[in-house]
Symmetry: D4
Amino acid sequence: MAAKKAKPIVGIIMGSSSDLEVMTAASTVLEELGVAHEIVVTSAHRSPKQTGEYAAGAKRRGLKVLIVGAGRAAHLAGAVAAQTNLPVLGVPLESGALAGVDALLSTVQMPSGVPVGTLAIGSAGAKNAALLAAQILALSDGALAGRLDRRKAKMAQDVPGVVKQVLPGGK
Amino acid sequence: MAAKKAKPIVGIIMGSSSDLEVMTAASTVLEELGVAHEIVVTSAHRSPKQTGEYAAGAKRRGLKVLIVGAGRAAHLAGAVAAQTNLPVLGVPLESGALAGVDALLSTVQMPSGVPVGTLAIGSAGAKNAALLAAQILALSDGALAGRLDRRKAKMAQDVPGVVKQVLPGGK
Amino acid sequence: MAAKKAKPIVGIIMGSSSDLEVMTAASTVLEELGVAHEIVVTSAHRSPKQTGEYAAGAKRRGLKVLIVGAGRAAHLAGAVAAQTNLPVLGVPLESGALAGVDALLSTVQMPSGVPVGTLAIGSAGAKNAALLAAQILALSDGALAGRLDRRKAKMAQDVPGVVKQVLPGGK
Amino acid sequence: MAAKKAKPIVGIIMGSSSDLEVMTAASTVLEELGVAHEIVVTSAHRSPKQTGEYAAGAKRRGLKVLIVGAGRAAHLAGAVAAQTNLPVLGVPLESGALAGVDALLSTVQMPSGVPVGTLAIGSAGAKNAALLAAQILALSDGALAGRLDRRKAKMAQDVPGVVKQVLPGGK
Amino acid sequence: MAAKKAKPIVGIIMGSSSDLEVMTAASTVLEELGVAHEIVVTSAHRSPKQTGEYAAGAKRRGLKVLIVGAGRAAHLAGAVAAQTNLPVLGVPLESGALAGVDALLSTVQMPSGVPVGTLAIGSAGAKNAALLAAQILALSDGALAGRLDRRKAKMAQDVPGVVKQVLPGGK
Amino acid sequence: MAAKKAKPIVGIIMGSSSDLEVMTAASTVLEELGVAHEIVVTSAHRSPKQTGEYAAGAKRRGLKVLIVGAGRAAHLAGAVAAQTNLPVLGVPLESGALAGVDALLSTVQMPSGVPVGTLAIGSAGAKNAALLAAQILALSDGALAGRLDRRKAKMAQDVPGVVKQVLPGGK
Amino acid sequence: MAAKKAKPIVGIIMGSSSDLEVMTAASTVLEELGVAHEIVVTSAHRSPKQTGEYAAGAKRRGLKVLIVGAGRAAHLAGAVAAQTNLPVLGVPLESGALAGVDALLSTVQMPSGVPVGTLAIGSAGAKNAALLAAQILALSDGALAGRLDRRKAKMAQDVPGVVKQVLPGGK
Amino acid sequence: MAAKKAKPIVGIIMGSSSDLEVMTAASTVLEELGVAHEIVVTSAHRSPKQTGEYAAGAKRRGLKVLIVGAGRAAHLAGAVAAQTNLPVLGVPLESGALAGVDALLSTVQMPSGVPVGTLAIGSAGAKNAALLAAQILALSDGALAGRLDRRKAKMAQDVPGVVKQVLPGGK
């Protein structure tokens, strides 16, 4: 029952509708884990006021963790973190010429005082942001912790170990 | 009426006809904003004399801002800036093996004394160079300033905010 | 009273005693915020068994968040995250020739399934890891949330704004 | 007389008092050119509200160009540009482990719609930001244009050309 | 006869079944050289216990050299090397946004005390890991040494030297 | 007549037959300029003896300039330069994961005492190596110098200059 | 007794006497492990003939593993590997402007057919090359294997684990 | 006698007097080899006209090879090469934050049609540019060729080969 939530407790935020495809990976993981969440498109640069208001009001609206994906000069996670003390998790996205290196450095190299917990570039990072959000929520949600533990155990079982032996004759 | 120009006031310069496709993005933005401009193909390396004469004569011909796109060892913006005190905006282009990193560093790392205001690699940079040129021109063109403000306001309105809530049942 | 803890709830882990100086920044922030924690030196490569046992037993011992700092091929955060579902926060450290870029990529580019929330390279990252840990703990500790909010408000007040006007006479 | 200004027309903005030393290079150039300006310390991350209000109100207060220096995940120039249509010039600063590469990419790789004209990393960039600001202002200030032209001419004269001939005897 | 092995003496280990295609290049080379080996899929992060047990038990099971391929934050070679004194050879794999640079640095920048002999990124590295393993085994297997020497001689003969002369007439 | 050569005076050397396509660009330029040359496939690593003998004997065979293209850990140009005092021009080739950055650094970062004049990565570099070789030969071949000057003049003429003016009406 | 060697079985090779300080770290580790070795200064570029002869004759002289350190365009390990089927271990050295990145890529990105097992940049790499050489030799030297195992066990014991608990009172 | 020159035949060009110290290394090598040369300080950006005139007139003044050193967005070698068909050799200099990587890419990544033969970053590159210039001149100067060959032979002799054997007793 613990996972049945009337209201979103995680916000998945991204800077552009074109990021929806990659960031949906985060939504899928949260849904599998039974974590209510919402998906938000808002930009640090194009809609700064909307972004600031969303971030500043997130805690009051019941959100607990914010996942933020952005590409290029990826300021969105930092802009959100500047306005809230909720944990903010950043996902650098590949966009443009630099394969996400720009987004990675823009997201992770935050100055002292305003943390963004940064995950890998792209969809692996999006999935892991969802898992890290769930791990955070599971600190006070035993049922969710159990689901995470079963998922981790199954993940280990799915790795096959020795798959083949090649024993050539003498030459 | 202020935007009705008999003569170009922005020059969009690039080093090769193969850069036309990307740099047309700058032209399109200027056209939308009603800014008269011209498109120039001239090379710092292959036609240095033509480049120098164009840059040195730009102010006299009525140009006010120069947008310069180039790839690889992208010297064109610097070569133009060396010959004029008009504001020069550089757009590093992707070309060859290095995804535009060479062009970015060649454009932005100008020595003290000869500035080039550098935008992002590729078409995002080309569009933004046009916007920055328009912002510069708008300092003395109230009508253009108004068009820029309306464009910025519309851009903010087009960002949707919360697009979806996912509320899984208990598990 | 909520912050008075009989037992550590955060582990600050690092791969070598030579990392103590940088990682102490995390300890200082946690101490200022009244968060009980312990400091651990254990290596993914030199003492893998000790590391695995510490990580696997961390939840049982009452720990809630793990902060892990390491340099070079910085596997420690990933090795810890492999053994627990507690949130793991990684701090890439400068060590050797590559200024921490190796540590950053080794920490942040985790494969899907095993997240490490990564902070900036060096002491800024260490401080921010402590703040992010506190933000996570504050989700269920209102007193800590209050302290974080006051800290954030004070941080904003300490930024001076306009500090000087320079109004040269005509020339 | 044109340069005698009762009020600042350029804002030199930086994220931290520790950036003052480098950014003073911009102030010095503006002072030499007789351009009234103000120096502002405000942070995109630590004082986002103050930063937003400063940027949004800059035009109304009579400012015409904004120079913004920041290090690491350098969001300040982008945060300012998000709130105004004044031209924003960015100066990436060296800070932390990555020699300003993080700041360069965070400043220059802005998404389409919100330009930041970026200069070189460090003090060369700070000086050039001031010169570019002056070039922009000179479009409608003939006296300033004259000062810029004389400065450029003098700069060319100060480069010595052939300084030495070495003519070894036969061997 | 020396190469006729009842049991594998080389382990080719990789973190994911998706790495099989690239790492098969190592298996093919070993098979051509008559070296018995086994192929193992086990993950440093998803199945750390299985990985640790495989590495710790490798010598006892008769293995002599371990080849380990992994991508992204490629900890697998280091995790194996932490548990054994058998020679460990690492192959960084391309995966995700960074073209294998992350895997290269994660594999090669091991701290003092736990070596991983690292080969090139991708299939060239996989082939060379197999050759280096064979060179190691050949130190005590004269027949294998002979096969390696013949292979090296043939490789040299297959390089054609001068292939064409172009002698244009005068112009 | 000067260009009518009975024997090759430029050697175009590459490490693998797979480099022929890119390096043919150098051959084409030399042929257009009437410079006799030969194309050689020899490897620093797979056929070191053949490479050493070719380089050491190049001057005796009448060669005057050596153009060397190689990818990855591109040692071929350096290996050739180690064995001759003929001018050696290096062309880094794209091959494998790193887009030619490895080849560039391996070719250009030669230690003091053994120069390799390095051109751009890929086919632009191959063409320019041929031009630089021709410039070197033209120091004592007036006819070739004339062909180079005409080629350079034509290149300048082919750059169009202003190609279009866009003069939007008022808005 | 097995370790008592009348003749060197490992060659530690470097390109310049200035590399002696860093590469001595490899010699020290081998001496601690009782492995006879010799130290050689020879250059791929300045003394290619001497280098080729040393590498080609190494096996005949009784050497079993070759450790090669070089900086910049570090071709030495590849030049040695081209001439022998002994295992070659490469150590990229910091030298010049690029912090060893050039040496790393020049050493590790070897083409298929000629492996170099590459260790970390600088002294950590030098030490680990010696350990990897010892691991290779220990495959047929039980006493050496024992010394390596004891060294590894002691290394694990020297890692302290929990070093401090910080338990702040309530605030 | 051939080396006794009444007039400079090599120009060593640099962008700033602050580059004199590094570029003097090129002058010293040329002086040792008896090659008459001149040292020129002229800037692509600050004194473009002087630079263009020097380059365009270099051949007429009797110069045969041009060595060009510059830092940051190092356009000087390209600007010179644009104006002459004399061979141009580029030396990227360390200056500012990026350790010469910007200068390397700005110098080497020239577009097809205008070659710059690029040497290593910094003083090693300056020395090698002088050697490459001498190799070019030696194609038509037998005495200089002889001096280069003796220098190369001496360089090889100065590399010591085996310097030490370490033969530990058994343990």
